[in-house]
Subunit: 518 residues, 2 copies
């Protein structure tokens, strides 16, 4: 059986006739054969020389603001420095001139609210996270909470936990505000800012923060999440959305159905004792075709929104010279599933409802031989959910599938779940952002969504606002050691340094205030 | 579908129609409806009062011999005290009067050989192990390498690593030899003794020891493994055999077939990246029916020897009032597989070729949410093999099954493998032993085999000798903390203490020398 490599999805290839027959994988057709020509986006032409000069003149102080932020640890998972960082953010907003600044209690770590009243027609909502991932200090070449400058081929970077995820770009954005206000007396747009201290925990209480300000937030014209999006070539891929996610654990253990009720019984009893480990394995195997790639849970693909005209045009543009070779190299892959290539692989990435085993464990996992029949087995699993697919509906389908397959005793523990989020490329805020990006950098692609997840549905679905989570600048190492953000690019670099990043945020606010004009 | 509960095996019950159809589970019929009446076994009537008196008189010294042995750590897995213990055993044999005593090098820990020439007609081969399991000292109520006496309801026990597995019964046997020789000047039978220091490692080099003495060993009349077999009621189940075992690891990782070549890629790439974890799960699931109890590997049940007349008679005897309730209680089971009860469950236990997952692990197994697509997944598995089933033949069938099912990239690592072993209840050594057991205790059952494994095939299959691995005495905790052997039973106890254990070994040697006579 050979898979036809075009944008219609291939049948889930069967590895063998000896194993489960796969249902047909759903087929999606593009709704347009036209391409979206983002190279024709007009670069923003506004010039705000006074503000730019203020930035250049105060760049060292601006950099020190970034250093001050990353020097304050704020590890949400370990509850280290959370209140201190929330207060630091609040006080910085007050110092810049926000008229409302307050900590907002939640069931978890507090949020921070700020409002800047410019008396303007347009209002921008800014999403921020002030928490960071834990660190293993021994792995770092520079202390993670000092923000020292470190030399790289492409320039001098600030190395610190939170450098790029997300304190660096966030404080760069505030520097830009400060310079505008210092030079012009006020901002070109009103600003709402609603920050959380639990992004690294999956934003479990951000909805509570939105609850408090919901009516005001809905009046905004769009949402910005300051972000370093440039790669080492200075190129920037504009991302318009994210998939949702459902994350759960499955657990099988001995009980009324059978299996041992105590741990580590002798393996020879398998002759007369049911195995919770094999039961969990059978249950997971029953969820997909034998190759793990076509989901057999009834209805699991039903709600995926097929490609819109806009998405189709973006895909036609991006897909025509997208080989996926960079991805294969980065992921150390010999091939994509089913041997998919190019646009077919891209379509699958964008529209697939996934079912993934993040982890599984049971019984003896040490060296050598130990013969036991484990009494409990557990797996962590996740599904990425394209637009249209609701996590709790999927959870119910999984439950029904297990019940219908005779696994009603297997426990499902939901650990996280939220739907997808996507913004139209035609939203004024997106157009303004792309104009600014085109001025300062090279847009290499516009993707309707990425396969990863973030709880942006709070903005796009709940508040109905367009969201931009891209920006100038470069950084990496978000969850690992030696996280950095480029501050001073080497001569000839195409990447924006701190000064240009701040200038691009200046441009963005003016562009949003007066679309497509200076 | 209802399962008829008789000695013919039931069909592998399908949990559901939504999952893999199970092949029919093989059906075995008993070859006789007669019962084996072991209550008619005549108790050994020989009386060796002089030797018994010597034992009673020297009991404190005999107990000190046990203490001396358990005080010498000999942890094979950690190579602690191995040579010291081997030398201690060798020197004890020499002290008792063995004419040949020597350490025997192997590729691993050395063996110990001893020969006692009594000029007798009959020769007994004694198997011993001188190694013990590791200890976690903190878990013990008495130091594991001192052998202190500790009070229990049923008497005073010696608590130590190796107390019952296997130094206690072994040194008790040597005490018996010593008393016979001291009183009579020689033994009633010749003795060969071939001990290993790697039993707890799965006896990987015992075949090398047999290589050295094979021709002489074959001239023996049977093999004894000194053993504490009595339960707390003083009853003893005579065990005639063990299953063989195949133990292996399965590993799936990213490679030419697909999947990531590096660790912890982002879980969202599941849309286009094959999952080694799901691949391993599919492969394991493909090996059995969905309930994990009927093996679908071609030929896997083919070689099982159906019940012989002798086995059938033993089963008819044991099975008629065997409810399995004790097992269910001990294993914390609500029910056996397929709801089997009584003799049907017993048959399954005795004749099943098992397939068990001893352990499985892949990806993230910590608290909370981490979304990765693991690049490697591993499982430990074992099969218990009844008589007739060869481990390497089964290994080849597993390999072929994986290859035929499209999983040729999945690695199999064999960690252990040897065939079953069984002795006829009619062997003179077994009859002699049962006569002695009947004198000192109550035989509650004779089982043709247990579901567990030991490499006794070296004796039964390779050397063609009957093997007895039962004896008077009680102990437990073999691989855990607070291992003990009962030394001085409480008044009224039906369990043999050290003195009676030694006397029973005296009887056994004389019974073997002159079957069914005094």
């Amino acid at each position: 059986m050979k898979c036809i490599l075009n944008v219609s999805f291939c049948l889930g290839l069967l590895l063998t006739s000896a194993v489960i027959a796969a249902d047909e994988y759903p087929s999606y057709s593009l709704a347009s054969s036209d391409a979206y020509d983002f190279s024709r986006i007009e670069a923003y032409t506004g010039k705000h020389e006074g503000v730019y000069a203020h930035i250049d003149k105060n760049l060292e102080g601006h950099f020190k603001n970034l250093q001050r932020w990353v020097s304050q640890p704020s590890i949400s998972a370990q509850n280290i420095g959370i209140t201190e960082m929330a207060e630091l953010l609040r006080d910085d907003l007050a110092a810049i001139g926000f008229s409302e600044t307050t900590l907002v209690p939640t069931s978890g770590h507090p949020g921070v609210w700020g409002y800047y009243d410019a008396g303007a027609e347009k209002t921008l909502l800014v999403y921020m996270m002030y928490d960071v991932q834990p660190v293993n200090e021994d792995d770092w070449e520079s202390p993670p909470f000092e923000g020292k400058l470190v030399d790289r081929d492409f320039g001098r970077v600030m190395m610190a936990r939170g450098a790029t995820n997300q304190k660096g770009p966030e404080r760069a954005f505030l520097n830009a505000l400060d310079s505008i206000i210092k030079v012009n007396g006020t901002l070109p747009v009103n600003l709402m800012l609603l920050a959380e201290g639990e992004e690294e925990l999956g934003s479990p209480h951000y909805p509570e923060l939105v609850d408090v300000y919901e009516q005001r937030l809905k009046t905004a014209d769009g949402v910005l999440f300051p972000f370093n999006s440039q790669n080492l070539n200075g190129e920037l891929t504009v991302l318009l959305g994210v998939k949702g996610i459902l994350y759960w654990e499955l657990e099988s253990k001995g009980g009324a159905w059978g299996g041992p009720g105590r741990s580590e019984i002798h393996g020879s009893y398998k002759a007369v004792v049911d195995s919770p480990a094999q039961r969990l394995i059978s249950a997971i195997a029953s969820m997909t075709s034998a190759d793990g790639n076509t989901i057999l849970i009834e209805g699991y693909y039903d709600d995926v929104k097929p490609p819109t005209v806009e998405e189709s045009m973006l895909i036609n543009t991006m897909g025509k010279d997208w080989s996926g070779e960079d991805w294969k190299k980065g992921l150390s892959l010999s091939k994509f599933i089913h041997g998919l290539e190019g646009q077919a692989a891209l379509m699958r990435y964008l529209y697939d409802v996934t079912l993934n085993v993040d982890g599984i464990w049971s019984g003896y996992t040490g060296e050598g031989v130990k013969t036991i029949l484990p009494h409990i087995a557990t797996a962590k699993m996740d599904s990425r959910l394209p637009l249209g697919v609701d996590p709790d509906t999927q959870l119910a389908r999984i439950r029904k599938h297990l019940d219908d397959s005779g696994f009603s005793d297997i426990t499902i523990r939901k650990l996280s779940g939220y739907p997808a989020a996507q913004t139209s490329v035609g939203a004024p805020l997106v157009l303004a952002a792309m104009g600014v990006f085109s001025k300062w950098a090279s847009i290499d692609n516009v993707m309707p969504r990425i396969g990863g997840s973030a709880p942006f549905y709070q903005f796009t679905e709940r508040l109905g606002l367009p969201l931009v989570f891209n920006g100038l600048g470069h950084g990496t190492g978000a969850h690992g050691p030696n996280e950095y953000m480029l501050i001073y690019p080497a001569k000839g670099s195409s990447i924006a340094g701190l000064a240009d990043i701040e200038k691009s945020y200046v441009d963005l606010l003016f562009a949003l205030a007066k679309p497509a004009q200076d």
